[in-house]
């Protein structure tokens, strides 16, 4: 097999071509906009095949506009602003780290995409680095060459889809993405995993990588001998990668093997509505059928452990908005369609070896055409296409592979002269060494070394607090707050954390109080850290003594029990050691 990978990492700057928040928002939409897309014919009269495919099923696109994550730029009602410098510098630093060639001028391009995921009908993208002979990823199974690095816009996320059209959420459109592609040097699924891991880690070392589900994606290009280049997109857990590649290799090999079995066949397309009109499933629906002569048993054949030829063909039908297809290799009882199929077979004079498949619904005609075209392609082995990874390890057909005919210059953005004095990315090794010097534990170092908070950590060590306490505050305490209070502290901003460490180092609050203060700050972002912390201010010795004396009135308890009672009352306002000391004095 031959395999190359592409990594896409979202960057935590503002959006690439406007000043909106670069996050996917879960807030409700403020307004919606309805749009249509018309594929433009290039000067050569050529429409890209991926573009033509999307146009053939083009419908109304509805866009949800939300909060401060989208503006007129995302709605394609205002030209792009200038490229975000933070994102550009990050991309350049990664390219430099990978010893790539950085062009003297960067040209922003429009890549035609008309599935509606980009309001303009194109995605903005630019080459920032080209691989040189020194641009390689080391793996245990040899070097993998890096091909190119692009900085581009994230597309909008689908909210819902039906036969009338698709609804998209504009909040994620235009989030900066760094894409790194490799040459097809990868020879095993495990090597692909290693290479992807390496690139993912490198991107995190920039400190500018967004974290969380969906913020990093890997695409793979796979082909086997006799097969064709197939691009698989949309899987998020890197651990799935080896399985996905294995399954794709099997799928391609099965398709290649199938070609050798097939002899010439002619398909017959028939309108079978009349045979199905009484059934519950297809009542008042158009039902189209396709006769596959001599195909009996073939559609039940497994292409890989998670996919039969029948389910493969159904994917093509579904691309046109129908629910799927039903064929005579299946158990028709579960659909309650036994008599309908028998009738249809008889009326159509099918031979015992012939297979009948049917598709019902508004787009049944287009869907049957797509399946018909795909069955004829079985003669050629594997078609070049883009597929979407599915959770069971295989993938489903999405669209044909785009050609080169869909890229042209973005004339609204001036050509960019890249900075030459780009800061290099610190290596992991030098960071580990530095963190060891702070006396941190192995576990803390492991997390902090790739954390976007590394710079904040360095800043916070200027205060009088022990570095290990600072590291815990950034790494361990947030997990604790999540567990104890169910709050996500990632909403806290750097200045709040700085204030917190300042109060800690001045002894105004104790570390015991920090989780509670953090949780309260998550709930009330309008409050200042000092306001919240005020509630957890350290008790003075006389105040503390008064409380201890109150509990000492209870007789016959041991020291541990007294400690427990007092701590329950003063947690966060006095440290355990102070309580123990005063308790000893008073007892």
């Amino acid at each position: 097999m031959k395999c190359g990978i592409e990594i896409h990492q979202r960057i935590c700057s503002r959006k690439l071509f406007c000043d909106c928040d670069a996050t996917f928002s879960d807030n409700p939409e403020l307004i919606t906009i309805n749009r249509l897309l018309h594929p433009a014919v290039g000067e050569t009269g050529e429409v890209d095949r991926a573009v033509a495919f999307e146009a053939s099923r083009s419908k109304v696109f509805t866009y949800e506009v939300k909060d401060n994550t989208s503006c007129l730029v995302e709605t394609d009602s205002e030209p792009p602003h200038e490229v975000n410098q933070e994102a550009l510098i990050t991309a350049l630093s990664v390219a430099k780290h990978l010893k790539m060639f950085i062009p003297d001028e960067l040209h922003v391009m429009r890549k035609t995409v008309i599935d509606g995921s980009n309001t303009g009908g194109f995605q903005r993208t630019m080459v920032v680095g080209l691989g040189t002979k020194d641009s390689v990823i080391p793996t245990s199974q040899g070097l993998v060459r890096v091909k190119d690095l692009e900085l581009e816009e994230e597309s909008a996320r689908i909210v819902s889809r039906n036969v009338k059209g698709t609804t998209y959420d504009l909040s994620g459109l235009g989030v900066p993405l760094i894409e790194i592609g490799t040459h097809p040097d990868i020879k095993t699924p495990e090597q692909a995993y290693e290479a992807a891991l390496y690139l993912g880690e490198l991107l995190r070392l920039t400190g500018m990588a967004q974290r969380g589900i969906g913020t990093i994606r890997q695409d793979v290009n796979v082909s086997v001998k006799g097969g064709a280049r197939v691009e698989i997109k949309g899987f998020q857990d890197l651990k799935d990668l080896p399985k996905l590649i294995r399954y794709e290799v099997e799928r391609q090999e099965s398709l290649v093997a199938l070609t050798k079995e097939l002899t010439g066949y002619k398909l017959r397309r028939v309108n079978v509505t009349e045979f199905f009109e009484k059934s519950k499933m297809f009542k008042n629906k158009l039902v189209m059928g396709l006769v596959l002569p001599g195909f009996k048993g073939l559609l039940a054949r497994k292409l890989n452990p998670a996919k039969t030829l029948g389910s493969e063909l159904a994917d093509y039908a579904r691309a046109y908005g129908v629910k799927g297809l039903i064929h005579t290799d299946e158990d028709l009882k579960k659909y309650g369609l036994v008599s309908e199929f028998t009738k249809a077979r008889n009326e159509l004079n099918l031979k015992p070896n012939d297979l009948l498949l049917v598709i019902g619904g508004e787009n049944a005609d287009e869907a049957v055409s797509a399946v018909e075209a795909r069955v004829y392609l079985l003669n050629d082995g594997v078609p070049e296409e883009t597929r979407i990874a599915s959770p069971n390890g295989t993938s489903v057909y999405a669209r044909p592979l785009p050609g080169g005919a869909r890229m042209y210059p973005e004339t609204d953005v001036p050509v960019i002269k890249p900075l030459t004095n780009i800061p290099a990315i610190e290596s992991k090794a030098s960071r580990v060494k530095e963190l060891k010097g702070y006396g941190l534990t192995k576990e803390l170092i492991k997390e902090l070394v790739l954390s976007p908070h590394l710079d904040l950590f360095r800043e916070l060590t200027k205060f009088k607090l022990k570095p290990i306490e600072v590291a815990r505050l950034l790494i361990t305490v947030p997990k604790d707050v999540k567990k104890r209070y169910g709050k996500d502290v990632s909403v806290l901003i750097d200045s709040q954390l700085i204030d917190l460490v300042k109060l800690l180092s001045e002894g105004v609050i104790t570390k015991d109080a920090v989780p509670q203060i953090m949780a309260e700050l998550c709930d009330s972002p309008e409050l200042g850290v000092a306001d919240v912390a005020g509630k957890y201010k350290q008790l003075s010795d006389p105040e503390l003594k008064k409380i201890i004396k109150k509990f000492l009135k209870k007789k016959d308890l041991n020291t541990k029990q007294y400690m427990g009672l007092v701590m329950k009352e003063v947690r966060g306002k006095a440290s355990g050691s102070r309580v123990a000391k005063l308790l000893g004095e008073l007892k």
């Binding site: 018309h38 433009a40 000067e43 009269g45 009602s77 205002e78 030209p79 429009r110 194109f122 190119d148």
Partner: protein, 437 residues
């Protein structure tokens, strides 16, 4: 080829589009040579096989393969006697441009084949004939271009057009529409100006919908000069604005054009193309009505926005016959002194205006855009009326007032007659009643 100097020498014998090998910084790159859009010297632009363009400082360029140009296919267009004959005139702007997808260069697209190829739906609505008048960004237009368009529209109507569509840049489309409204009198068929706010290369371009609706409007019974553009941010309708009562009110939105103080004549839904009338005070289609063209213009008119702290020199420097004042509020200018050295300069503004009015005509409009001028309310206004400033109780937009004065001065040498014309409603440039919209 837009390369110069050293690079031009390096590229000797190479044409745009040729496959070349460029050596730069010790690396070798292969790609198609692209033209330069920007003037930064010492750089060549290559299109790599991936489709991406990059800019390189070249040390050496070697030609590998020469570009072969394909001839574009010609479309055959059939005419249908049942359909209306609509003429599309190209006057430039975004809507009449197309992009070279390889190079990114924007070129005029003006053969009927190209227009129909862009928007095949229009051919289903009508028999389309198209020709170019000129290719220019609309901000460069002058009253001369307005008069050329008016003349050509007249020619087409005489030749039997059932409606005329003018593809126009959007920046000053409302000036042209105001002029055509005044110049094309007793119009018997629709004249529709149309533009696009997003470039035609993109699949989301508004030109398809705007042009389709404009052709539909040209087939309609509304025999007026109109602007047809998007109604909102969505692609579900366009509206037909009255040519004298419309203004571009946004730099980039699809619905940049807004009717001022009136409703649009009609709304056209897309893609159904159902036309919904919003008003009934328009001239009906009547092909037998005889068109009168009043096509004179006089460019000696200025449109000046008055602002706080304005200096009298600005007025004194005007060398023209007509002045449209974009005044404040109900129709005021800074003209009163409050005894300090700053406001006392306002008196000089007044003196300058007085001097201007000895030989010229001044018409008041308001920079509030919406609402009616009323110079009776404050002393400032009354003083201006006394000086002979025109425009009282009118609600012309400043742009329409400007166009009207250019037109009026072009059609009469007699200043008193021009003054009367300015207060005569020719083409709905002002309303009598301020409707509560």
């Amino acid at each position: 080829m837009n390369y110069s100097g050293k690079i031009k020498k390096l590229l000797k014998g190479v044409k745009i589009g040729d496959l070349v090998e460029v050596t730069s910084h010790g690396q070798v790159f292969k790609g198609d040579l692209m033209p330069r859009a920007e003037a930064r010297k010492g750089i060549v632009v290559l299109k790599l096989s991936s489709g991406y363009n990059i800019g390189l400082k070249p040390d050496k360029v070697k030609r590998l393969k020469t570009l072969r140009t394909k001839k574009p296919k010609k479309l055959k267009i059939k005419t249908d006697p049942e359909k209306k004959n609509i003429v599309i005139l190209g006057a430039g702007g975004t809507i009449a441009s197309k992009i070279d997808y390889r190079t990114g260069a924007v070129k005029p697209a003006m053969t009927p084949e190209e227009i129909i190829q862009f928007t095949p739906t229009i051919h289903e609505l009508a028999n389309i004939k198209a020709r170019v008048l000129f290719q220019m960004l609309s901000e460069n237009m002058t009253p001369k271009q307005w008069s050329v368009i008016a003349e050509e529209v007249k020619k087409e109507i005489i030749k039997g057009a059932d409606g005329v569509v003018i593809m126009h840049g959007t920046d000053v489309m409302h000036y042209t529409s105001a002029y055509l409204s005044l110049a094309l009198q007793d119009l018997g068929v629709p004249v529709v100006l149309v533009g696009a706010q997003r470039s035609t290369d993109r699949a989301s371009c508004d030109s398809h919908i705007n042009l389709t609706c404009a052709v539909k409007a040209a087939c309609s019974d509304i025999a007026e000069v109109m602007i047809c553009m998007h109604e909102g941010l969505s692609d579900d309708s366009c509206v037909l604005h009255q040519g004298t009562r419309v203004r571009k009110c946004h730099t980039s939105r699809r619905d940049a054009f807004r009717s001022i103080g009136v409703l649009p004549f009609a709304r056209i839904y897309y893609p159904s193309l159902n036309l919904e009338l919003l008003r009934d005070d328009f001239a009906r289609r009547d092909e037998s009505r005889k068109l009168k063209l009043k096509n004179g213009f006089n460019e000696e008119v200025a449109l000046v926005k008055f602002f706080p702290g304005m200096k009298p020199e600005l007025i004194n420097s005007l060398k023209c016959k007509g002045l449209i004042i974009e005044g404040t509020g109900l129709g005021h200018i800074p003209m009163k002194s409050y005894g300090d050295k700053y406001t006392s300069k306002n008196l000089k503004v007044l003196a300058a205006l007085k001097k201007f009015l000895k030989t010229g005509i001044a018409v008041m409009t308001s920079q509030t855009i919406k609402g009616r001028v009323n110079m009776n309310v404050y002393e400032t206004g009354r003083d201006l009326l006394e000086l002979g400033v025109l425009g009282n109780l009118l609600d012309m937009t400043p742009e329409t007032a400007y166009v009207k004065l250019v037109w009026a001065l072009g059609n009469s040498k007699n200043l008193d007659e021009v003054k009367k014309l300015m207060h005569k409603n020719i083409a709905g440039e002002f309303t009598d009643r301020s409707e509560v919209l």
